[in-house]
Subunit: 196 residues, 4 copies
């Protein structure tokens, strides 16, 4: 009965993770394009190519779906830096540079999504942010301990929060990306007292 043209359409049955990803991707796209607040379950279903009811087989509620979007983002955001930190071949300043590079590129690439997703929402708590923090914290501490950074008289928590917000600004306005990244690297170094 099956004709050979029929297989071009999405098969009706998909493994759960695939469906889940389809839905998350649709939601992410819509959140960026039309704003999270304007993204209804109906639209998500439509774009994901599933029925409205089916979303509820994978997510308990709209809230949960959005939470899914969030953890998704964090996960991807933390992938790179974790490796950077343990790379023995880099100096602390270079690690700092690498983190800037990674985060800014990520931000530049996803910032529509990032900003669409991390507001509006009774954000379920910032556990993943905490992870990013602790990552940077170690970087600062170890860089300082190694004498590469100069944080004398500064509260490391404050420096941390300063940096974690600062790099986002230059991602917005469309200057040349390479220039922006390079500039921010230098400003990070200045901030931690690593500039010659």
């Amino acid at each position: 009965m099956a004709s050979d043209t029929e297989k071009l359409t999405e098969s009706r049955y998909q493994p759960p993770e695939v469906r889940r990803r389809q839905i998350l991707d649709a939601a992410a796209r819509l959140a960026v394009d039309e704003g999270l607040a304007n993204t209804s379950m109906a639209r998500v279903a439509e774009v994901a190519g599933v029925a409205k009811g089916s979303i509820y087989l994978h997510f308990e509620s709209r809230q949960q779906l959005i939470a899914g979007l969030q953890s998704d983002l964090w996960e991807r955001m933390l992938e790179g830096p974790a490796e950077i930190l343990v790379d023995e071949s880099l100096s602390w300043s270079e690690k700092l540079d690498s983190v800037v590079e990674h985060w800014m590129r990520f931000e530049l690439e996803h910032h529509g999504l990032y900003h669409a997703v991390f507001h509006t929402v009774p954000s379920s708590g910032d556990e993943p942010l905490a992870e990013a923090r602790s990552l940077m914290e170690r970087l600062l501490e170890q860089g300082a301990a190694a004498g590469e950074f100069n944080l004398d008289g500064l509260d490391i928590e404050v420096v941390l929060d300063f940096l974690l917000h600062a790099y986002i600004g230059p991602c917005f306005h469309q200057t040349d990306q390479a220039v922006a990244i390079d500039n921010v690297k230098r400003l990070f170094r200045r901030t931690v007292g690593a500039e010659s």
Copy 2:
């Protein structure tokens, strides 16, 4: 019975600015407490102690009400720094310090509202942000021209965006405020190359 200080009880008729403020205040409180997205006109009316319809005598729509919340914030945020900039008695670094002080105190005081209000929303354009930017831009340029700041090889736009986001971070976590402000002042100086 009527004393000359009177009016603790609500009278039915209020001058427009008073009503307007009642409504804005109610909206602000709700935006902070329950999230802007969850703040319905009905709730605002309830908290403001006016009828639902009355809001529309002062704001054309929900959008306009939110826009009102925004301009309100910006207005108050820009009051101080404008004066700082023209204060001849301060060095450029001291002016930078003053701006940090002002903005951080403002942020610390309002940041619940600030963050509730400046997202979710098809923000009516960032004209006021632009104003804050141009203010800081002049500060940086003139400080650099005066030789107090060192921005060699840096794109002033990038530095600007960097700073405008950076100070917000340290406002969140409850370290000692005085310490946080002091730290951020030093970090701002480092960023613009003004530290000895």
Copy 3:
């Protein structure tokens, strides 16, 4: 204290009938221009140049205002024909012609208003229409009695209703008015059997 320019504005106090007429005229204009359903008390007040509340000094409710519009129209519509009927110098056919002329001109002039006003509304009963009917009824009966009209075997009520609706049709489409009126006169004569 009164300057000489002040009197150009409408004096604040007007005799009731004048105010009443101002309001009715405003309502009529709005009903024609924007549709009766879209005509709010606020708009009427605005166009009439009075306060919203003042309308209620002259009309008990919106319903009553609309009823006022209706009787107004009927009154003017019935003015002419009543005189025609008692004019001894005219034959019955000529009287019929005159009524056609009067009503069509009235309709052509007011039909926007007419159609705006006589629908939508729980029309308070058609007492004035009854008056127009009885007028025409007498015309038909007397013309028939005089041998000018031939209504043999026809129910006079039916003929009446037929005519009272028929003339309205040709008022709509913009053929030459004079032609239309002349044609309708002939058709009325045909209908009552008065054409040679």
Copy 4:
């Protein structure tokens, strides 16, 4: 328990056309009974026995629902006459009679609805009316060409508009229907000059 004639009880799911008709019927009934302007979506839903939101599965908006009411009426109104016109067995006068018969019966049956529906509304354009017109126009022209009607010196457009409004009058007052129809047939014949 389930009989094969079954379904006197409402089942939750109905084919779209059935639901659509339920809603249209409810709307029609309310429009007649309480006036179109007083017919809210909530009442329609209630009378139709569906949820408020369900109406929007079948009609995009209140406007569309009302438009639906209109086309419904027109459709049924135009069914008969189209056939009459091409019936070779009838003389032109008989065709005229048939159209009168059809329209008056229709009007008598539906006129509450008819008049409730065709006012108040930014009527979506009168395309269907135009269809009724062109139908009658052909009838008049061909009857005249055949020498059965005498329209000498008359503008056919005027005659048309005259007739299209005239027959509605006698539908209102409750004389004997058969008499009314018979009378109007004769008056139509007189109007087109077809009476012996």
